[in-house]
Amino acid sequence: MAEEREPPPLPGVPEPQDAEDLFVSAASAMEDAERSLSPEDISSSSNGPKAEPMLLDHDPDDLFAEATEEVSLDSPERQMILSDGPSPAITPVTINPRADVFDRSPDQDEDEEENRDTFDIQISVSDPEKVGDGMNAYMAYKVTTKTSLSIFSRDEVCVKRRFSDFLGLHSKLASKYMHIGYIVPPAPEKSIVGQRLGRRSSAVTELDPDAKACLCCRYLLRTVKQPALLKDPDVLQFLESSELPRAVSTQALSGAGILRMVNKAADAVNKMTIKMNESDAWFEEKQQQFENLDVQLRKLHASVESLVFHRKELSVNTASFAKSAAMLGNSEDHTALSRALSQLAEVEEKIDQLHQDQACADFYLISELLGDYVRLITAVKGVFDQRMKTWAKCQDAQVMLQRKREAEAKLQHANKPDKLQQAKDEIREWEGKVQQGERDFEQISKNIRREVGRFEKDRVKDFRVVIIKYLESLVHTQQQLIKYWEAFLPEAKAIA
């Protein structure tokens, strides 16, 4: 199959430097796909040559026909973990030995999936170390993947990646999937424009390496959680291969970067001018929901950030008070009181440590999660915009078709046979395009519905997990506080 197809034109964003990369990875993926197309593989964990069709989704005819068949087998709410997307070579039923479980109850809950989840992949990003020096110094992170999924060649892989590699991965995935309606997790940010302290300063603060490592780790986890992306060759290559071609186009000031910015501006303008007739109330409602959620989450995020800041401040002040109390205890000449004051100083010092830990918990659990979701929602909104663009394209195609038809009619009257043939050809072409556009639109709408459903489930799950962790940390803090103060009480009472 690979021989028939030419490498597809890169969709959307023109990124000349990445072109070779994509082709290289596409070619290698196709080879892999060929190799792994054996019946044994099909039944095991449903990973067949999924990669190949996705790259070539612009090829109109056979793929999408099969794809629509494929997708319609699932009801929109069902979440087939490892067998999304067009996989023409595999019949859907055999993919998942657990497929029969799906027939049981229509509403899937995430916990049921969890139970049957052999979604057994653990990723950790650790050990930031500085490589190189001077101008070319960068931070390299160790990415460790432990998995039992068979799409990976080894059980445990450990590679070194630098930050721009993550950005490169994101831009590749975005260019491939955003316009067909998949929610691509947003790229980790190099630095954050912090809205600190009542908007006094929106300073761009460079994240420290550990926070960045966490960010990258969460980014990867989100990416692989999405079944379509997990099978993507770029993702696989990212996680597995020891050498990754430098993603140069992710640098802010590169040609590609500037082009990206121009595109973004153009998109923004287009968004304002496209007035879409929303036929589907679901989409309208969801969009509104996401707008609201966006605003609320941003506000919440800002509050939590200020909480983290103040708690850090509290811990510093408590520490300095502890020192001062210790000095006071020293200079006090009444022995029992002096001892009590020193004890008080010790208690306060322990409490300060406690505050620091709590601040860390606040930050790493809640604040980061909120930040991630704020960015994710931007991605979701982006996907909705893509749908609008697709609709606009479809409309344009229809308009063109209309025009061609009118032109043909005119030519009919004028009776010019040679031009007539050409006109007929054009009409056929544009009819094809209209059909294609409508199919695209349908496809993207379906995808979005599914993605949004999955997103919401994931959101609830994420938040719930985090909240429980946070509550546990709170309980622990209170426990410690009680312990410290109860130890101090007899000292205070012993002052004679």
Partner: protein, 405 residues
């Protein structure tokens, strides 16, 4: 206008100085106070069995300036040079809450109605706390006088308690302000003096070293404690905002969010802890900073008397040498010596009782603060546990539902 008249609260609050008001022959308290704009009008209520007063029970309205007048008058009375003069109460300061109220009013449009109502409630509570504090401080000031065997007989004190007309204490004019400034300069010169003068009495030598060192330490501790409680308040405010934001988010759908709201509500207890800490520890430290200063003042006066004594001795010797004004010099010297001895004697008594008083107050205060911390931490832990249990339970129930049970 706010008024205050709860006794039980004041009982809790009054731990900076203990063992006052035990003597039923003269009982003073401030049961009521009114706050208008900048001025606070205290109602000073006296119950007495002493014959020096005209009535057994009476009340007069007093303002802050009149308290300061009383303090200054007593300081200037020569007779009391050997006593520790209770420190003057600080001026009622509503700047903090007032500024916040102002900011709240400005930001009203940007927040939801519930948030605004909640913040307003909190500010009012803060305002009330400041108010209570200033009443307490003025009350303790008067009670120090009434419980002291010598001060309670002071004529000016009695006028303060009894005279039901306005004392017409006029504000210090420019000259007096300048005079006050000058006095402060002299005081710092005294500080040099006190460390320079050779001390014969070991008791006073020890006290001097101790007080000088302790006063700087306690000032530092007070400042740090204030910073700490301020940060604590900031954290509590943040939880306020967060719970407001969560409220609006949860209006959407999620029970998970609603759970977190209850968590944040419980975190509001942090706020209460902050103000309790403030009232207990910081007030204690603040009060004793001032008291230590008063003790130091006693030492200054004694040191000056000692210097005077030495000078008079020198003058006597010179006069004897020169052979004139001997009687005058002798008289002078005798007076100085008398004054010095009296100061030393009463000073010793005062400083000893001061130490005892201080230790007791610290003890009571620390115990109360610790007990409060424990109580609040236990409540918070209980609430967190409940919320945690509730969240886990809801997940469990959801599991059950999805599995078809």
């Amino acid at each position: 206008m706010t008024s205050i008249s709860e006794d039980s609260d004041k009982e809790k609050v009054r731990s900076v100085s203990v063992d006052l008001n035990n003597d039923a022959s003269l009982v003073i308290d401030i049961p009521d106070a009114l706050c208008e704009r900048d001025k606070v009008k205290f109602t000073v209520h006296t119950k007495t069995t002493l014959s020096s007063f005209q009535k057994p029970e009476f009340s007069v309205p007093r303002q802050h300036e009149e308290f300061i007048w009383l303090h200054d008058t007593i300081v200037e009375t020569e007779e009391y040079a050997g006593l520790i003069i209770p420190p003057a109460p600080p001026k009622p300061d509503f700047e903090g809450p007032r500024e916040k109220m102002h900011k709240l009013g400005e930001g009203e449009s940007s927040m939801t109605k519930e948030e605004y109502a909640k913040m307003k409630q909190e500010l009012e509570a803060e305002y009330l706390a400041v108010f209570k504090k200033t009443v307490q401080v003025h009350e303790v000031f008067l009670q120090r006088f009434s419980s002291h065997p010598i001060f309670r007989k002071d004529r000016n004190f009695q006028i303060f308690l009894e005279y039901d007309q306005d004392l017409s204490v006029r504000r210090k004019n420019a000259k007096e302000m300048f005079g006050g400034f000058f006095k402060n300069m002299v005081k710092s010169a005294d500080e040099v003096l006190i460390s320079g003068v050779k001390e014969v009495d070991e008791f006073f030598e020890q006290e001097k070293t101790f007080l000088l060192d302790y006063s700087s330490k306690i000032k530092d501790a007070t400042a740090k404690a204030e910073k700490m409680t301020r940060s604590h308040k900031n954290v509590a405010d943040d939880y306020n905002h967060i719970s407001g934001a969560l409220n609006s988010t949860a209006a959407d759908n999620n029970t998970a969010f609603k759970k977190t709201i209850s968590v944040c509500v419980l975190q509001k207890l942090e706020d209460r802890v902050a103000s309790d800490q403030e009232l207990k520890l910081t007030e204690l430290l603040r009060y004793y900073t001032r008291d230590i200063q008063a003790a130091k003042d006693l030492l200054y006066r004694r040191a000056r008397a000692l210097a005077d004594n030495e000078n008079s001795n020198k003058a006597l010797d010179k006069a004897r040498l020169k052979g004139k004004d001997i009687a005058q010099a002798e008289e002078n010297q005798k007076q100085c010596l008398q004054k010095f001895d009296k100061l030393s004697e009463s000073g010793k008594k005062e400083l000893t009782s001061f130490k005892a008083r201080r230790v007791v107050a610290f003890r009571k205060n620390l115990i109360e603060m610790t007990e409060l911390e424990i109580k609040h931490a236990k409540v918070r832990r209980l609430k967190s546990n409940n919320t945690l249990y509730g969240s886990k339970l809801s997940i469990f129930l959801l599991c059950q539902k999805s599995l078809g049970y």
